[in-house]
Symmetry: C2
Subunit: 449 residues, 2 copies
C-alpha cells in the first residue's frame, strides 16, 4: 500500500526547520474541522472526485471500447490539455514500456501506439501528423467544457484529415460534459462519447472517463486502478491518514517559509505522476496571493542538476521522495576494471541497489543538513498503487486548500489570458480586451537589448 | 539574433513589483566591476566555456567521427548524466523531429536513433536494452571526472553486452578529462576518445565535445552552433548586453523576493533548453543559503497547469517567456461548425497564430496583474540561435553569481550524498559515512502513516 513517511520533517531529525513532535496533537482540532468540511461538501456533491472510485456508470462501456479497439488501431491520438491529458499521460508512462511507441504491435498486446497532443505548437502538430497514418488512428477529443481552444483546433484539423480518408464517426470519440458545451452538441451528429461528471474538475478527473478511457485503450487495468483508489478512500476515513498528513505537514511548513514543494520520484516511470501532481497542487492552491510552487524533479537524474540547490540553497523547500520498494525488473552491474577503486565497487551489485542507495544517500544528506524532506513509499508501480496515490493526493490537495482557507476547486486566474487570446484570435465579444491589447499593451514602453 | 525583452519587469509597466527605470544607471558601476571580474577570470583561464566558441582543437575529429558514422549505426546510446547529457538532449530536442526515433532511417539522413541513459532506474536501463540491437549501436560514455557512478555502471553493463556480440573498441567512444580519472586510463586500452577541457565544468560544457560529439552524430550543424556562440560573445563585449541584463534584472528582482525563476518556452522543441538551463541556474547559484529556484514550464501546455499560480499566487516569481518568431512549419486550422461561437473563430487561422496569440495573451495578463515577466526572442530555432542562447545564458549565470558574490563554478553540496551512496554501495574508505548511516540515520525516530 502507499505509506507517507514524514520522519525527516520533524524537529527531532532535522532541527529548527522541522515540525514539533506535537504538531498533530496541536492541530487535531483544526484537522477535524477540515475533515467535517470535506465530508459536508462531499455530501453536497461538490467533491465529485471522491465518488469516482465507487461510482462509474460508464465502466462497462469503457471496457467494451477498449476490447473492440484491440488490434484494430495502429495509433491512439489523444487531444486534450492540462487535466484532460496529464492523468492519462501519467498512467501510460507509469505502466507501459519506457519506449512503448517503438515496440512492435505484439509486444503492445494489440494496443495502439499513443500520441498526446497537449500543445498547439505547429511543429509538434505537424510532427504527429507525419508520424501517423490517420486512417489507422483512433482519436479521443477530451474537454470537459467542450470549449478548450487548443483541443478544438486540433479536433478541426483531425476532422479535416479524416474526412478525406476515413470515417469520422468511427474514428473520433468525444469525452465531455454530459449535457453542456459545443462538443456535447457535436456528439449528436453521430459521434461516440463518454461523460465527465459535472462536479469533477479537470485536475481531479483522472479516475473519470477522462483518464480511464485512454488508460483502458492502452492496456491499463482500470478495475485495479479504481480498487486502489477505493482502498485509499477507506484508509482516509480516520483522521490520521496519509492524505491529511501530507496536507497538514506541507501546510505547517509553508507557514515556516517552505513554499517550494518538490515531488522527486526515484523511478523514471513516475515522471508523469510528478507532472500530474504539479497541476493539481499549483492550480488548486495558487490563489489569493498565496500558494506553494510545486516542482518536479527526477531521481537520480536531478541529483546532477538540482541537488546542489536543495542542499545549500535557501531553506524554502519541502522535498517529497516518491520511492518504489520493488522495481519490475532487476539489472546486474557486471564487474570489470577491478584495479580502479572508483569502478570496482559497482560490479556485482544491481542497478536496483544503486538507485536505492542513491535515494537513501540523498535523503540522509538532506536530513543531515536540516532540509525538510518526506517520502511516499510504493511497494511497486502498478495500477492499484497508482489509484491509491491519485486519490490520496487529490484528497490531500482539497485538505490543504481548506487548511489554507482557499477554494481548491476553482481556477479564476486563467480567464484573463484566455480572453486576451480570444480577442487576438478575432473572437467576437471581446472588444474591451482587444482595445486593451491595442491601446495599452502594444503601446507600453519597451525595454530590449 | 537573440533579443532579451525586459519591458514587463519595469515598474512603469507592472507597478510596485517591478524595477525602477533607473536600475541600469544605478547599477552600472556594480556591473562594471563584475565585468572586470569576468574578464580577469577569463584571462586566468578559469572560465573555459568562454573560449569554446573560438577554440575547438578537436572539431575536425568530431566531424570525421560523425561523417564515418552516417548510415553505419542504427542507434546512438549516450551514457551521461547532468551536464553530460542535458546539453546534447536540448540540442537534439530543439533541432530534430519531435518523434525522431520513429522516423525511418532515410528521414534521419542516415543518423542513428538516439537513447539518452541519464538515469540508473533498472526499468529504464532494461527498456533501452530491449529497444536496441547492441551490435548496431554506437555508445558514448561521457563523464568529465571519469568517476560518475551512474555512467560507469552503465558503461560496465554495455561493455559486458558488447563483448558478447560486437567490438568494444569500435563501438564505444569515451569523452572525459584529457589526463585525469579512470576513464582516461581506460581509453589507453584502445578506445576512441575526446577531451573535456579541464577548465570547463559539466554544466558549462555543451559547446565542448560533451555536447558537440552527440550533436554532430545526430546531424546538428556544429559549425553554425559555434558561430552563434561567437556572435553572442562579440555582442557581450559591451556592458549593455542580453546576458548581463538577464543576470542583473534577475539579481535585482531576487532582492525584491522574486526567488522562483521560470523558463517558459513557447515551443515544444525548446523544452530541453529549459531543462539544461535549470541545471545551469540551480547548480551555479544555489549555495551559501542563497539562490533562486529555476522552474521549467512549457507554453501553451502549462497555461493549463501553472498559470493560475503564476497569476494569483505570491509575487515570488520572474517568468521568462522563450519565444520564436518563425516556426519551421505552418499548420492551418480548418473551418467547421461555424454555428458554434466557441469554435468558429478558430477556423481560417493557423496553429502558429494560435500559439503566438496565447503567448501574447498570457504575457498581457501577467503584466496587467503586475507579475514580473520577461521574454527571450529567437527569430527561429536553428543551431546558430541555440549557440547564441547557450553562450548568453552561461555568461548570464556567471554574471549573476558574481553579482550575488558566490562562486558559480563549483557544486560542493552534492558531495555528502555521493559519499553516503558510496558507503551504502560498499566502497572502501567510507567508514565514517557507513557508521553515520547505520548508527544515526537508520536509527532515527520514524514517523509514518
Amino acid at each position: 500500500m502507499v505509506i507517507y513517511d514524514f520522519s525527516n520533517l520533524m524537529e527531532e531529525n532535522i532541527g529548527e526547520h522541522g515540525l514539533s513532535s506535537l504538531f498533530f496533537k496541536e492541530k487535531e482540532d483544526l484537522l477535524q474541522t477540515v475533515d467535517r468540511q470535506i465530508k459536508e461538501q462531499a455530501r453536497l456533491g461538490e467533491l465529485g472526485f471522491m465518488q469516482l472510485p465507487f461510482d462509474q456508470p460508464e465502466i462497462d462501456k469503457i471496457k467494451r471500447l477498449a476490447a473492440a479497439a484491440r488490434g484494430k488501431w495502429e495509433n491512439l491520438l489523444v487531444l486534450g490539455i492540462g487535466g484532460s491529458s496529464l492523468g492519462a499521460m501519467a498512467l501510460h508512462q507509469a505502466l507501459n514500456h519506457p519506449f512503448y511507441n517503438l515496440l512492435p504491435s505484439e509486444k503492445r498486446e494489440g494496443c495502439p501506439r499513443v500520441f498526446f497532443a497537449d500543445n498547439v505548437d505547429p511543429e509538434l502538430i505537424n510532427g504527429i501528423l507525419e508520424s501517423i497514418d490517420i486512417k489507422r488512428t483512433l482519436i479521443l477529443v477530451i474537454s470537459k467544457s467542450g470549449k478548450t481552444a487548443e483541443t478544438l483546433a486540433q479536433f478541426l484539423l483531425c476532422l479535416d484529415h479524416i474526412k478525406k480518408v476515413g470515417d469520422p464517426h468511427q474514428q473520433i470519440v468525444i469525452i465531455t460534459d454530459p449535457e453542456k458545451g459545443p462538443l456535447r452538441e457535436i456528439v449528436k451528429e453521430g459521434f461516440s462519447s463518454f461523460s465527465v461528471p459535472p462536479n469533477v474538475g479537470g485536475r481531479y478527473s483522472v479516475l473519470s472517463p477522462v483518464g480511464l478511457v485512454p488508460a483502458a485503450l492502452l492496456g491499463v487495468d482500470i478495475d485495479a486502478l479504481l480498487a486502489g483508489a477505493q482502498a485509499m478512500s477507506k484508509r482516509c476515513e480516520t483522521l490520521e491518514n496519509p492524505a491529511y498528513l501530507f496536507a497538514l505537514t506541507h501546510y505547517l511548513l509553508m507557514q515556516k517559509g517552505k513554499v517550494i514543494h518538490v515531488m522527486f520520484p526515484y523511478a523514471y516511470a513516475l515522471r508523469g505522476i510528478a507532472d500530474w501532481w504539479r497541476q493539481l497542487w499549483a492550480e488548486s492552491l495558487g490563489k489569493e496571493g498565496k500558494g506553494p510552487t510545486p516542482v518536479k524533479a527526477i531521481g537520480v537524474t536531478d541529483q546532477h542538476s538540482q541537488l546542489q540547490l536543495y542542499m545549500e540553497g535557501p531553506y524554502d523547500k519541502v522535498i517529497t521522495f516518491l520511492t518504489v520498494k520493488n522495481y519490475r525488473t532487476e539489472v546486474n552491474i557486471p564487474s570489470f576494471f577491478s584495479d580502479f577503486t572508483d569502478i570496482a565497487y559497482l560490479g556485482g551489485h544491481t542497478f536496483n541497489q544503486l538507485i536505492q542507495a542513491e535515494q537513501l544517500g540523498t535523503e540522509a544528506a538532506l536530513t543531515k543538513t536540516g532540509r525538510a524532506n518526506a517520502k511516499i513509499i510504493l511497494d511497486q508501480i502498478d495500477a492499484f498503487s497508482l489509484g491509491a496515490l491519485f486519490y490520496g493526493l487529490e484528497l490531500a490537495t482539497v485538505c490543504c486548500g481548506f487548511l489554507m482557507d482557499i477554494n481548491p476547486l476553482n481556477q479564476p486566474g486563467v480567464e484573463l489570458g484566455k480572453r486576451y487570446t480570444q480577442a487576438l484570435m478575432g473572437k467576437s465579444g471581446f472588444t474591451t480586451e482587444k482595445e486593451e491589447i491595442e491601446n495599452w499593451f502594444l503601446k507600453r514602453p519597451l525595454y530590449q537589448v
